[in-house]
Symmetry: C2
Subunit: 409 residues, 2 copies
């Protein structure tokens, strides 16, 4: 799998020192992917760790989501096993048993209970897992476990499906004078047919948290990141974000340090989320939409999300078109109030619409700026309230349509 690293790393993250203490990783190929690429990822902890999870809001949930969701938050997790190439979704009772079987096998290898093992899957839906391959894969992965960066990268690769590059972020921070590492891996959210390229992420850290703290912090960080991105707005049956905290680097954190860690987690998840948007199927640009002046943050969020989802806005960004009409009118049909006479719009820092009226600007120059930037900042003021929100979305290209219409079941 030839992938260019896209990680945001600090200097110290280039070695194994960059990984949090207490975790071993492996990523191998067991034959679930026809391509022969890595498709089984295993993370095992040295000791029981705290684990939190955030899961898809889709009413149709895959077997691994049902399994893991019932086990988090927890303070005794020992492993996360993930397969790609098959989502184990819409697979009935057999699917439930297969997810449980994966956990049981890992538990037997480690010597713990299956309740201590979490499971994730992504890939084709409605097809039963080839459990013989998974079984061999888990054995092979277990024999490859190591706390090295190489293995962390292998594990990151093995959760990918149509992703064009792996998505990882690592951080080293100081909390109460103690050095803490955080390492996150994710896979992308563009969906393919009939696969649903689920959004998966695992964040490992050696900070000390109890499972209530971990669950709360993960929920907040997801709201600041993964819940603020969209490629095509299609929520998968398998979306899962896990946070594992080994506690091996710190004693109990002060409330100041917890706040600091929360901030770092927010940023780290946000970086992973933006990598997912940038890797959206066929995406050429990422729209960074900021809404301000709404009555409440929730209103601003609804407006930002509505603008982000508009195919007309997306195609305008694709074409480098500073099209205030599409953006402002999308805000106008959002299910949250705006004040048309106080509505203003900036693209790439240039004001093109003020107090409800378009104003003259150098369209050719602005268009060039939009085309040149991978990330196109859009600042929309919708009134004089305090409500604000950010949202990131991919643009919409012919490549997306080709990719998603050329499959035949």
């Amino acid at each position: 799998m030839s992938q260019s690293p896209t990680a945001t790393t600090t200097a110290s993250d280039q070695s194994t020192d960059g990984l949090p203490k207490g975790f071993r990783f492996a990523g191998i190929a067991c034959g679930l992917k026809v391509s022969g690429k890595k498709d089984l990822s295993l993370i095992v902890t040295d000791h029981p760790v705290v684990a939190a999870g955030v899961y898809t809001q889709n009413q149709i949930v895959a077997a691994p989501v049902i399994n893991s969701r019932s086990k988090t938050p927890s303070s005794t997790v020992r492993a996360v096993v993930t397969n790609s190439g098959n989502a184990n979704a819409c697979t009935g009772q057999q699917g439930i048993e297969n997810a449980q079987g994966m956990c049981q096998q890992v538990a037997d290898l480690i010597g713990c209970e299956s309740e201590q093992v979490l499971v994730m899957s992504t890939g084709v839906i409605g097809v039963k897992l080839a459990m013989d391959r998974v079984k061999n894969g888990i054995e092979t992965a277990y024999s490859h476990l190591a706390p090295s960066i190489e293995n962390f990268l292998d594990a990151s690769d093995a959760i990918c499906t149509t992703d064009q590059s792996r998505k990882i972020v690592t951080r080293t921070i100081s909390l109460d004078g103690q050095t803490v590492k955080i390492a996150g891996m994710a896979k992308g959210a563009g969906m393919i047919a009939p696969n649903m390229a689920t959004m998966l992420a695992v964040i490992t850290t050696d900070a000390s948290l109890d499972h209530h703290q971990a669950q709360t912090m993960l929920g907040i960080a997801c709201n600041e990141s993964f819940n603020r991105i969209s490629v095509d707005g299609h929520t998968s049956t398998n979306d899962t974000v896990l946070l594992l905290a080994s506690g091996e680097a710190t004693s109990e954190l002060t409330s100041d340090s917890q706040a600091h860690l929360q901030q770092e987690l927010n940023q780290l998840l946000n970086q992973l989320a933006k990598q997912i948007v940038l890797d959206g199927e066929g995406a050429k640009h990422i729209m960074a939409i900021e809404v301000q002046g709404a009555n409440h943050d929730d209103d601003a969020f609804v407006i930002a999300k509505t603008v982000a989802a508009s195919p007309l806005v997306k195609t305008a960004i694709t074409g480098g078109d500073p099209n205030w009409g599409r953006i402002v009118s999308a805000a106008g049909y959002a299910d949250a109030p705006i004040v048309p006479a106080e509505t203003c719009l900036e693209i790439c820092g240039e004001t093109i619409y003020r107090d409800g009226t378009p104003i003259p600007f150098d369209a050719a120059r602005l268009s060039e700026a939009m085309k040149a930037n991978r990330e196109v900042p859009i600042l929309l003021t919708v009134g004089r309230g305090d409500g604000k929100a950010k949202y990131w979305s991919s643009d919409l290209t012919t490549a997306y349509v080709e990719f998603n219409s050329e499959y035949t079941t």
Copy 2:
């Protein structure tokens, strides 16, 4: 303007007999469209008529919407003047005055009050109307007024923008033994840059209705038609649907006849709505989505609309892909409850998903059927409730993306 007629007509509708009594029509070119195509449409009534209106829900509304909205329902309307090529939206106080000026000029020509004249606009936004051209155009149109089919078609053409063909439907029905005519014209809903190709429609009839009845009936008919279609989900600033009832063919209607007329109106608007979807920018297919088994009709509507808006579902239909995973999972993330274990899916009459599980089907044959049909029926059962709804949407093609991304402001 070379356009193939797409009207659904009865034999009697082929002559001027097909038009309701009491209306004269004209459609001419006044130079608002660079192409030189017809861009000014005028409908004048012989006597004051009942008029009802349904308008965009966008918070940003164009000047003509503000103008007409304040005048309906009414029982004294004499004319509807419509220009295409310029939406008169986001044009400030000057725009308000220009819309009013159009009404005043028509009123002066007819010899009535400007309050009796309705106005609609569609086209580029943020640009002031060339009122000299509009003024000449209104004079020319007034001199061309006639109750003929030819003039009705001219008027229908003059409200179009990027529409590939005019959209009209006429009907002749019998109410209480009296012959009633209904004639509707509409223009399409795909939006272009920075134009917003607004959805406009005018329905004329010679049935007798009071303005409260007319308003209620139009609201119901819109909910069964224009509110159940989407091309790209982008609500325009100018959307307007008007119903004009001259009363020249009937005396007061019995309640049975009113119910009959309602049914006819629903069907007529529905046919116009489907013409709009079929003419969606780049559209190859129309998805006819029917949801049943929901708890309430409102829930079924939300689910149908969510499925209809999914780019993944749209691209699957484009590719002739019977992709149950995309459709069922879109229903799963709709903001209305479904019962996953009771969810079933039929495409083109063939069941491919039953009680939460995919079932074997001849994918190649079904794909051929999907490709061969301009309208692809999708029947989704989401439980055992009584709630049901229909929704129509265009598919998503590379042509849509090319069309909407190649413009540069």
